[in-house]
Symmetry: C2
Subunit: 346 residues, 2 copies
C-alpha cells in the first residue's frame, strides 16, 4: 500500500479503518461514539491529553499489562474484561486500592466496530465492578495483517494504605502459603476453545477481580508478607519467582491443591500439569502461621475465595526451590518452565 | 500452528520466541538480561507485579500512548525514544512534572534481540534525559504475522504543582497562541524514509522531550490557560480540538508559522499541508496577551523552543472554528481532516 492514504470504500461506521487512528475527525468520532459513552467520567470528558486525579500523600502502586488473548471471547470472559481485571489484580496483590486506569488500543484495520463496542462495554462493566475509572486512553490502527483484531494495554494506579509494604522479598520461613481456589480453569478454557473441543462440565475461565479478596486477606492478617495473582505460568511460576526473590524454599502439598474434574481430565488428555496452567482470578498469600487460619476464614467469605486453603509453607531447607509432596506421598521439585505451554493466554 | 508449543529450533538468545512472553524462564531471562540492566531502579528491582512510588498530596496527571511507528528507526529517533518522549510530553503539557512510566511491549515472534536491546537502550537514555523512571512493565509475544516487530505502550504519571489547572476548556478569547517551532519535520522524515527518498537538507524528526519547555512557559506565564503537543493530525487537529472544547474560535497567521525549506518542498511534492503533518517535539501554549511576550522569551531560552513565536489568537468571532490568514492575505478555514495523511506515524 502507499503511505499516502486515499478515501477508503469500506464503511467507516462499521469497520475500523486506518483513519480511526489518525487523530482527525474519524478518531474524534470513535471517541464520542464508542469510548466516551462507555467510560464516561469527569477526567475523560475534559478531553485533554492526560487524565487528572487527586491523591492523598503516601505510596502509590502502578502496574501495566498488554492483553493479546486469542480468541477475544471465551466462556467466562473476553479480552476487555481481562484487561481491566488483570491490571486491577496486579495492583490489589500489592496491597493497593485500585483507583484509575489508562487504556491503549491497537486495532487492526478491518475490525468490526460492533466487536470493539462489545469489548469496550465489557471494560466499562468490569471497571464499575472494581470501583476504578478509565481516565485516559489512546487508539492506534495498524494495517490489516500487522495485528490480530485488537490488542489492549491497560496501566493502573492504586493507593497503598499507610503501613502496608508487601513484597516477595518480605516472605519468611514459617509463612503459610494460602491459595484462593482451584487451578487451571482459564488456561484449559482457552485451550478447549481454540481446539473446538467440548470438554463438558461447566468449564469457563475464572476471570475475576481480586480486590475484595485481597482486602479481606489484608484485614485478617495484619502481618501478611506478600500476595501474588496466578496468571501466565500458573502457580509454579509465582512460587518460583517468590522463592528466588525471597531466597527461601517453598513446600506445597499436592493433595491440598484444588483442581476441578474437568480441568484434571483435560490436563491428562493434553499432557499438561495444572500447576503450570494460567489462571485469571486466583491468588496466593504468604501469611505468618499465627494469622493463617483467620486469613483463610476471611477469604472464604468472599466469592472469589470460597475454596481458599493452606497449601504449604515457606522453609529455610532448600533455598530458592519449590518442592511438592505428591498425592502418592513422594516429593518432587516444581521447576519453572522454560516457556509456556500455551501462548497468548492473556 | 498448534496451540501446544514445542521446543523451537531458533536460538532464543538471538531472536524473540513465543516463550519470551510466557512468564517462564525465558521471560525471566529477558527481564534479567535486557530490561533490568537498561531501566534499573529500586521499584523495578523489587520484582513485584507493581512499581511503588511515594507521592505528595495533590493532583496527579496520568497519560498513555501506544507506539506503532514504521519504520522503527528513522533519522532523529526511533520507536523507543518516541515511546518515552511522547508520554512525557502528554504529561508536561498538562502542567505536570513527569515522574514515572510503565512500559508494555508486544513483540512479534522472530524479532532480533539486538533490535530490541537497541530500542530498550534508547528508552533508558530518553528516560534519564526526562528525569523519569520506568518502574513497571510487561512483555507479550505474538506469532509471526500477528504483529509488526514491536509495539510499545507507555503510561506515565506526573505531579501537578499546586494551583496549576490547565485544560483546553480554560482557553479564553484574547489568549495569544504561541507555537514552539517549525512544523512537519517528523511526518516528512517518516514519509521520506518509507519512500526511500533523499530530500536533502538536514531533514530529521523533531522527536524531543518538552518538559523543560513547558516548565519555562509556565514559569513566565502565571495565568497560562492550556498547552498541547502537536502529534498526529498536526497543528490543525490540536487547534480544532481546543476550539471545540473551549467553544472559541482560533485565528492564526500563515506568515508567522515556521516551516523549513525541505519540509515545504516535500509537502508540495506530495500534496500535503504542513498544518496537518505530525510533529514529535512541538507544542502550542494559550497565554493571556499580557504574559505572551514573556512566555515567548522564556521558551526561546530552551533548546526545543528557540523558534517560539506568537502565531495567532483566540477569538469570540467564529466559535469552534479555526481560520488562517494566508501568506496571500486571504482568509481560509483550517478544518480537521477526516483521516490522516500518513498512517503509523507514531
Amino acid at each position: 500500500m502507499s503511505v499516502l492514504s486515499c478515501p477508503l470504500p469500506i464503511p467507516t461506521d462499521e469497520f475500523v479503518v486506518l483513519g480511526h487512528g489518525s487523530g482527525g475527525r474519524l478518531s474524534a468520532r470513535m471517541m464520542e461514539e464508542t469510548f466516551l459513552p462507555a467510560f464516561r467520567n469527569t477526567a475523560l470528558e475534559r478531553g485533554d491529553d492526560q487524565g487528572v486525579f487527586e491523591a492523598p500523600a503516601g505510596r502509590i502502586a502502578m502496574s501495566t499489562d498488554s492483553y493479546v488473548v486469542k480468541p477475544l471471547f471465551f466462556p467466562g470472559g473476553n479480552i476487555g474484561e481481562l484487561a481491566v481485571y488483570g491490571t486491577v489484580n496486579d495492583l490489589a496483590v500489592g496491597g493497593a486500592t485500585p483507583k484509575y486506569l489508562s487504556a491503549g488500543f491497537i486495532l487492526e484495520e478491518g475490525l468490526s466496530l460492533d466487536t470493539l463496542r462489545q469489548i469496550v462495554d465489557s471494560m466499562s462493566h468490569a471497571a464499575r465492578r472494581c470501583g476504578v475509572e478509565i481516565i485516559t486512553g489512546d487508539t492506534k490502527v495498524v494495517e490489516k495483517g500487522s495485528g490480530d483484531q485488537i490488542y489492549i494495554n491497560t496501566a493502573g494506579v492504586g493507593f497503598i494504605p499507610s503501613g502496608i509494604n508487601y513484597s516477595a522479598a518480605n516472605v519468611r520461613p514459617g509463612d503459610k502459603i494460602i491459595l484462593s481456589g482451584s487451578l487451571g480453569d482459564h488456561g484449559i478454557t482457552i485451550l478447549a476453545q481454540r481446539e473446538g473441543m467440548e470438554l463438558g462440565g461447566d468449564l469457563h475461565s475464572d476471570s475475576a477481580p481480586l480486590h475484595l479478596l485481597c482486602a479481606a486477606a489484608m484485614a485478617a492478617a495484619p502481618t501478611l508478607h506478600a500476595m501474588r495473582d496466578l496468571t501466565r505460568g500458573g502457580l509454579s511460576s509465582a512460587l518460583n519467582e517468590i522463592a528466588q526473590k525471597s531466597g527461601n524454599g517453598m513446600e506445597i502439598d499436592q493433595r491440598a491443591i484444588p483442581v476441578s474434574e474437568v480441568v484434571r481430565g483435560a490436563c491428562e488428555l493434553f499432557g499438561l500439569d495444572p500447576l503450570y496452567v494460567a489462571n485469571e482470578g486466583k491468588m496466593i498469600a504468604f501469611v505468618p502461621a499465627a494469622e493463617a487460619a483467620a486469613s483463610v476464614a476471611a477469604m472464604r467469605n468472599i466469592e472469589t475465595g470460597s475454596e481458599a486453603r493452606i497449601i504449604g509453607e515457606v522453609t529455610e531447607k532448600h533455598p530458592r526451590m519449590v518442592t511438592m509432596r505428591t498425592s502418592l506421598g513422594t516429593e518432587r521439585i516444581v521447576d519453572m518452565l522454560a516457556q509456556d505451554q500455551l501462548p497468548r493466554i492473556c
